[in-house]
Symmetry: C2
C-alpha cells in the first residue's frame, strides 16, 4: 500500500518523517511529499504549493491513501482550489486526518469523494505515547483493523470534527449534510466561552439540527476562564444539545491525544 | 432622553455606573438595569435574566434608547429569545454597542428593528481616554452629533462588526443581508491566524460577497504568532477581499479603543 503524506496546514520536521517511517517499515510505503517540510510564515509552504501537493497526490493513481501530516491552521485557505481540481481517481482513495485538516475531510465528504476518516496523523508521533496513535492509523489504513475504530461506531453513519473547525464550516459550501449522523466533536486548548460560542453557531444550522445525536470527545487543555465560566465542558455540550433538541449520546473516544480513535465518515464501521 | 442600559454579555462594576452617570449628568437620564451588576459565572446573570432585562427595556415605551453596557461573551446565548419577544415599540428605539453585543445589532438589523449603531459602551470609560469614548456615544445618542460618526460614512449604507462576532453570525438567521453595504470590521486580541480563519468564513457567504466594499478598523493587541504569521493584518484583509472580489476601501475609524467612532447601520449618516 502506498500512502501519500501532504501538509495542508503547518509544516512537520524531519524527525517526524524518520519516526513515522520507522513505524511503517515493512507495512506500507510512505510517500512524503517534500511540501511537508516547507515553511512560509505560519504555513507549510504558500497556499498554491500546499494545494498543488494535495491535488497531485489525490490525482495520482499510484497513491492509495492520503494522510494529512499535521494540523495547525491553513486548510481553509486551499480547500476550494483542491476540491475543484480533483479528478475521478481521487474518489478511490482514503483520506485520514483531524483537527485543521477536518476542513478538507468535511469538503470531501460533502461531495462523496473518497473514504474520509477522522484519526491520528504523522505529527502525533511527537505526543506522549504518540507511537501508538500513529500505529493505530497504520493498522486501519493498511489492515482495516476494526480495533482502531472509535468503539461506539455502529449502524448509524458517523462523522467527527474539531469544534472550532466545524464552526468555521458553517455557512460554507464545504459543510457536509450531517443529517442522520452521529456527530462526534472534540476540542483542545480553547477557552470554554469560545467553545460555547462555536457550539451556538453549530447547533443553529439545519444540517446539524438533523443529526442523530452528538457524542463528546475529549475537550482538553481548557485554559482557565476569569471569572470561572460556571459550567464544565460536558454541561456546555449538553446545554446546546438540549436547546437544539439533539440527543446527547455520551462520550466519544477521540481527541487531541494519543488515544484518538478512528472515525470513518458515513455508515462505515467496516474499516478502510 | 431616557437611555436604558443592559448587559447582554458580561457584568460591569459599580465604578462604571458612577463614572458614566457623571458624564451623562444634565444630558440624559440613564436607567441602569440592575441586571448589569449581576454575576453568574462568565455572565452578567443567567441567560433568562439577561434576556428578560433587555426585553423589558426594549418593550418599555418610557425608554428611548438601549445602550449595551459591555462586551465579553454571552449575547449569542440570548439573541433568539430576545428577538422573538420584541414588540412594535422596540422598533422605535436606538440600539448602541459593539463587540459581543454585535450579535444583537446584527439580529436587530436583519429584521429592521430600531436604529442600530456600532459604537462605544459604558464600560469603555475604563479605557485610557475612555471618557471621550463615552462622551462621544452620548453626543450621538442625545444630540445626534455628526462629529461622533465614523468619518468615511456617506451615501452608501454601512454596517460594522467585530470580526469574530461576524464570523459566528455566518450561517445563522441573525446575519443581516449586507449586500450593497460598506462593511467595517475590527478585532482585538486575536491571533492573526484566527482572524484569517474568520475572514475565510465571512467572505465565502453570499451576503458578504455582495457588500460594496470592506473598510478595516483597528486590528489591535494581536498576540505574537509562532512562527511569525507571515503577513500584517492589512495584508490579511486585502487577501480575502481580493479572493472574494470585494473592494478594499481603506481604513475605518473603529476599534476596541477610546477612538472608536459611531457607525449607524444602514444609509444613515444623519446621526440618531
Amino acid at each position: 500500500m502506498r500512502i501519500g503524506i501532504v501538509a495542508p496546514s503547518c509544516r512537520i520536521d524531519e524527525d517526524v518523517v524518520q519516526r513515522v517511517a520507522a513505524l511503517a517499515e515493512g507495512r506500507a510505503e510512505l510517500a512524503w511529499h517534500p511540501q511537508c517540510l516547507l515553511s512560509d510564515g505560519h504555513f507549510a509552504g504558500p497556499d498554491a504549493v500546499r494545494a498543488e501537493a494535495l491535488i497531485a497526490y489525490a490525482n495520482d493513481p499510484a497513491i492509495d491513501a492520503i494522510w494529512f501530516a499535521r494540523g495547525g491552521y491553513g486548510a481553509c485557505r486551499i480547500v476550494a482550489q483542491v476540491i475543484d481540481a480533483l479528478r475521478p481517481i481521487a474518489r478511490e482513495k482514503t483520506y485520514l486526518g483531524y483537527s485543521d485538516p477536518g476542513t478538507l475531510l468535511g469538503a470531501l465528504y460533502a461531495r462523496g469523494i473518497g473514504r474520509v476518516a477522522h484519526g491520528p496523523m504523522p505529527a502525533d508521533v511527537r505526543r506522549a505515547g504518540g507511537e501508538a496513535a500513529v500505529s493505530r492509523a497504520l493498522d486501519w489504513l493498511v489492515d482495516g483493523s476494526t480495533t482502531a475504530l472509535e468503539p461506539s461506531l455502529g449502524e448509524v453513519p458517523a462523522a467527527a470534527f474539531n469544534i472550532v473547525i466545524l464552526a468555521h464550516l458553517i455557512g460554507t459550501r464545504h459543510l457536509p449534510d450531517l443529517s442522520g449522523h452521529v456527530l462526534m466533536i472534540e476540542e483542545v486548548a480553547e477557552y470554554l466561552y469560545r467553545t460555547d460560542r462555536d457550539l451556538a453557531q453549530i447547533i443553529q444550522h439545519p444540517s446539524i439540527r438533523g443529526v442523530a445525536g452528538i457524542r463528546m470527545g475529549r475537550i482538553s487543555q481548557v485554559p482557565g476562564n476569569d471569572p470561572d465560566f460556571g459550567a464544565e465542558p460536558e454541561a456546555v455540550v449538553r446545554h446546546w444539545c438540549a436547546r437544539a433538541g439533539i440527543p446527547f449520546l455520551g462520550a466519544a473516544d477521540i481527541g487531541h491525544d494519543a488515544g484518538n480513535k478512528i472515525v470513518p465518515f458515513g455508515p462505515s464501521s467496516s474499516g478502510a
